[in-house]
């Protein structure tokens, strides 16, 4: 039974449309490229998420663009078909189908060359900004940063501020020393005061 199904599929595939291969590749790229980006341990987590989202968005823009443009190009097939000659020995229906395939091919080329890069330049910056805002929001809400904000906010109100970091009676130095011992990741790249 599986063999019969495969046979049916193969017979249909004999009249192969260019869009089938291109859409299949784009779909698998939309799955695999983000997975590769996420699995790349050489990059920090933020960069991985950023790259994965960018890869996914690129392919997510590409797939409907290919399908819409190729379907759109097919509309003109009947108008642009010249009647088949005797030498060609094919029916008009077959000729229209061939012209549709040619228009699909040209539409795919045009989409890959102009439309997808243009749409990516248009849409991706907004998507990346949203991700960046989300990541910045998460980072600003971490306990270490909140603690720093509170410390600086409170300490500005203290009148007697000797900046001797070894003076344990000084609340500023005590708090900062405690904070130094706290669990801040060493690769956080967090800079204070610029």
């Amino acid at each position: 039974m599986l063999k019969d199904k495969l046979k049916t599929i193969c017979i249909k595939m004999a009249d192969n449309k260019p869009i089938v291969a291109v859409a299949a590749i784009a779909t698998f790229k939309a799955i695999m490229r983000p997975l590769y980006s996420l699995a790349n341990k050489d990059e920090p987590k933020k960069t991985r998420h950023y790259a994965a989202l960018r890869d996914f968005c690129t392919e997510a823009i590409a797939i409907p663009s290919y399908i819409l443009m190729s379907k759109g190009a097919e509309i003109f097939a009947e108008k642009l078909t010249i009647a088949p000659t005797i030498a060609e020995n094919i029916s008009k229906k077959q000729k229209i189908s061939n012209v549709k395939d040619c228009l699909q091919f040209i539409a795919i080329g045009g989409t890959a060359t102009f439309i997808i890069p243009y749409l990516c330049n248009l849409i991706l910056p907004h998507a990346m900004n949203l991700l960046k805002k989300h990541q910045d929001k998460q980072q600003n809400n971490t306990p270490q940063v909140k603690k720093l904000d509170t410390l600086i906010g409170n300490d500005l109100k203290i009148n007697n501020n000797s900046l001797d970091k070894n003076n344990l009676n000084n609340p500023v130095s005590t708090k900062y020393n405690l904070w130094k011992q706290s669990m801040i990741p060493s690769n956080s790249r967090m800079r204070i005061g610029g």
Binding site: I9, M13, A14, A24, D101, P125, L163, S186, R191
Partner: protein
């Protein structure tokens, strides 16, 4: 206006062009070449990004697409022969497969004859071509590109030779506390 005199209309009505368009290798190959030219061009034209970043991204994308194309072309033709032999074993009772000894004999007949008279063989080869394209472009090419692209970018000077330094967990954090105190003092004096 007579459309049959238009060169574009003449092109799309040529039987050879439709065979070209229906072939997976030409369709995917042409698309990859166009992407290799267009994407880096658009990246370089993006004025919002930094110049060095643009150059880096464009070069990386170009190398990636060329890697995809090379791998795809290297795999596809040999794979067509393998898939013909696979189909011969799978559909051993099919008269079409029994007629041709190997893929070379089958490829000698015209594309229209292949499509009309031997649709099972043509379809099986196209299906396997698509599968090979998917595997080479989505699984193999990123791996190969990842291995080679950074070396190429470093060789042409677009990527700095930075080694990741493993930080000692016993060391203090990157925050320079003395610097913090100096800045706090400046801030306090300014209030």
């Amino acid at each position: 206006m007579n459309i049959s005199s238009n060169p574009f209309v003449k092109l799309i009505n040529k039987p050879g062009f439709s065979s070209f368009a229906q072939n997976t290798m030409w369709a995917v190959g042409t698309e990859t070449v166009l992407k290799a030219i267009a994407r880096p061009t658009f990246t370089l034209m993006d004025k919002k990004a930094d110049k060095d970043v643009r150059k880096f991204s464009a070069t990386k994308e170009f190398i990636y697409q060329i890697t995809c194309l090379s791998l795809f072309l290297a795999i596809l033709n040999p794979y067509k022969r393998i898939s013909f032999n696979m189909g011969k074993k799978l559909f051993n009772k099919d008269p079409g497969f029994m007629k041709f000894k190997n893929y070379k004999a089958f490829s000698k007949i015209s594309k229209d004859e292949q499509k009309n008279n031997y649709p099972l063989i043509k379809g099986f080869i196209e299906l396997n071509s698509i599968a090979a394209s998917v595997v080479s472009l989505t699984i193999l090419a990123p791996k190969v590109a990842h291995l080679g692209v950074h070396h190429i970018l470093k060789a042409i000077g677009l990527e700095k030779n930075t080694k990741t330094q493993k930080t000692n967990p016993n060391q203090s954090s990157l925050i320079n506390i003395d610097n913090v105190f100096q800045k706090y003092k400046k801030l306090k004096n300014s209030i």
